[in-house]
Structures are given as C-alpha cells and as structure tokens.
Amino acid sequence: MALSKEQIAQRIAKEVKDGYYVNLGIGIPTLVANFVRDDISVEFQSENGILGMGPFPFEGEEDPDLINAGKQTITALPGASFFDSTMSFGMIRGQHVDLTILGAMEVSQNGDIANWKIPGKMVKGMGGAMDLVASAENIIVAMMHTNRDGESKLLKECSLPLTGVKCVKKIVTNLAVLEIIDGKFHLLERAPGISVEEIIKATEGDLIVNGNIIEMKF
C-alpha cells in the first residue's frame, strides 16, 4: 500500500532530531508536527514571524493576530517569540533553521525543485520557498511520487520553472524514501507492500538501487 499523507508526515517526523529548529511548508509538511516524538525538544518556525508555534487554538480562543504562514490560526507555546519578516528571513538565509520540510510539484535528480508556478495555468507565487531552498543545508521534500495522470514527478530534469537549484537532499513520497547523491536518486526505503520494481517504474530520473531495500513499518 502506498503511504497516506499522514504516513508520509509520520515518516518524515523521524528525521526531526532533538534541538532542531524546523520550518514546515504548507500541506503535508504541516502534518509533520503531529508526529514528532514528545521526548525531544523541537521548535517550529513559521516565516511570517513566530518561533515556538503551537497547535491550533481551542474553539473560541482564536486570535486574528496569531497565524502561521498558511494563514491558519495557531497558538504560541511557552518560550515562543514574535519577530518581523526581515528577521525571520535572516534566520532562514543565515542558516539558523536546522531543517526545512516542503512540498514539490517536481524534483530532478540533481536536486532541483519546482513548486511555485505552472506557466499559463497556476501562478500563486513562491512565498518564502525560494529563500528557504536557497539557504537551508537540510531540506526534505514531501510529495506524491507521480501526478494524477500517473506521470513521474521525480525527473531527470524539471519541466516547470524552478524554485531552487541543487538543493534537495532527501525525498519522502507515497512510495519511497530517496536520497540525492552525485546527481542521482538513491532508493533507501519502500512503502509497505510496494516493490522495488514499482518504484523504478514510477521514477523517470536515474534511480540507484543498492542491496536489499527495507520496507517501512508503521
């Protein structure tokens, strides 16, 4: 079975280490917060200006002056801080944020990522994604392995306008966990019940498969 969005988030949560400051993108990445082990200390940064972001507020306690980058109402945990956009992106570009998790429309085998524009069709903008991918040392992409037509989103070269070049190191899809090393995808783990052959078929870019590929457990 391919992973659900929650399971993708659950698998990525294992990459979050004690003491990390983490920026979560919109969509699947936001779900990662729900699966981080509670015996480690992690702080979530939202680029609109909060460090120490907490869960959604209880009904009736929402504050219009307290939102995340997805414009959702949130809470601030004890120890949280607010700051302006300039300082927020200073944290990001200055590499003070340890891990960035974001979604993608396409990723190429040399680590390029495209996630902000489909020419003539969808132009929402890059938001903070270009700043994040250009600066972060540690980027994990959460995405579906293929699009609605079954075409691979892990490509030799991206076809859509790029968000950043040679920046993605790790990808967690509904089918597999992959790493990018020396311009190629490397298969690390497979979703429960998904064969290596199925992953090869769903990957357009060069895919290296070395030895026995472990099956993820949930």
């Binding site: 909060i50 939102i67 927020s88 890059m126 250009a134 950043g164 070049v165």
Partner: protein, 233 residues
Amino acid sequence: MIKKTVANVREACEGIKDEMTFMLGGFGLCGIPENIIGELVRKNIQNVTCISNNAGVDDFGLGLLLKKHQIKKMISSYVGENAEFERQMLSGEMEVELIPQGTLAQRCEAARSGIPAFYTPAGYGTEVAEGKETREFHGKMYVMEKAFEADFSFVKAWKGDEAGNLIFKGTARNFNPAMCGAGKITVAEVEELVPVGELDPNQIHIPGIFIQRIFQGEKYEKRIEQLTVRKRN
C-alpha cells in the same frame, strides 16, 4: 516631542495620487492597514503600484482595490487566495512581479536603511534572477536585488503614541516594521493611540523617527482567512 498625529484617515492619506507606488504591510489579512485601504478605495486613485506580500482576498484587503481595477502593478511573493487577482494577471490586465518573500522584506529594509542593493541566494538559477547581476561569495552564487522606491508606506500597528513610536502584536508584525521609513512618507494606523510617555521605551519596536503620520483607526474587522481550531477534550 515631535508630534506625528493626524486627525483621521483622510488627513493621513493627503497627497496620494494616481500612478504612485505604495508599500502596504500585512501577511494575508493579518496586520493590514484596513482603514487606509478603505480610504484608497474611497478616493478611487488609479494605476497604482502596490508592494505587499499578498493581494488580499476577493472582498477584503487589497482585493477591494483589485475589484475596482485601481492597481496597475502588484509586487508580491504569494497571491494564491484571490481569484480576481489570478484572472487579471492571466488576462494581462494587471502587471505582476512575483519575488521571494525574504527578498521582498529585505528590499523594504534596504530602502529604509540607505542600502541601494544587496546580494541574496534566493532565486539564483531561477527565472527570478533573469537579467540581474549575480556574483560568487565563498563558493556560493548570489543575486543582486535593489532597494524599493515607494511614495508612501502604509503600516498597521497595535499601539502607537503621538510621537509615532509603534508596538506590534503577535504575527501582525510581519512586513510592517521593514516598511516603516522605506517610503518617502510613512503613515501608521494603530488600534490604540496613546499620549507620549505611556509606552515603555524598552518595548517599542519602531521608533517614531521613521513615521510621518499616525492616527487611530476607526474600526478593525481583523478578518481571519483560515480559521483552524481543535476541539476541547
């Protein structure tokens, strides 16, 4: 004490004209200068360029100006929530420059601080960097970005005093501080305007030197864009 107070939003917006460039604070609908936007709509000024992270929603925020076709050009980082915006952009009725969010903030900050340009890694190797100077520092490539030039900065703060000192609340701070002093004239609207001496100087986020006009907004709707809550157990 140099007094910055004006009586109301009409006085605060004196001198705005067609074809001008405005900076407007806010992230989504959070921390936007609601009263000033209302005045821009009422005065029906035309062909303006707006520098703002987002473009509001169809019936609130900058969406109100969009609906009346008052905006010639938008400079933003994310415009996903506005159907009318997307229509005007794709049909070519309105010019749009999409730039990375950190670059947008820094171009405001640079304008305020007398820095004509700076280098950032954001957008290198993408269409955002096309036609721009690039340069290598310590083995990494950067794109040169220039400070904005704007006629007015319109910001919204939580509290302010008669000297123009400002305090922001929560994530309503966002782009507002970087825009203070970045335009030729900065107009601040606040929820609560207090006499000088009432704000603790230790707590002030933006000193009054960057503000030319300040007034207390008549009312604030503070619309929530995405209401997300959890149930009590």
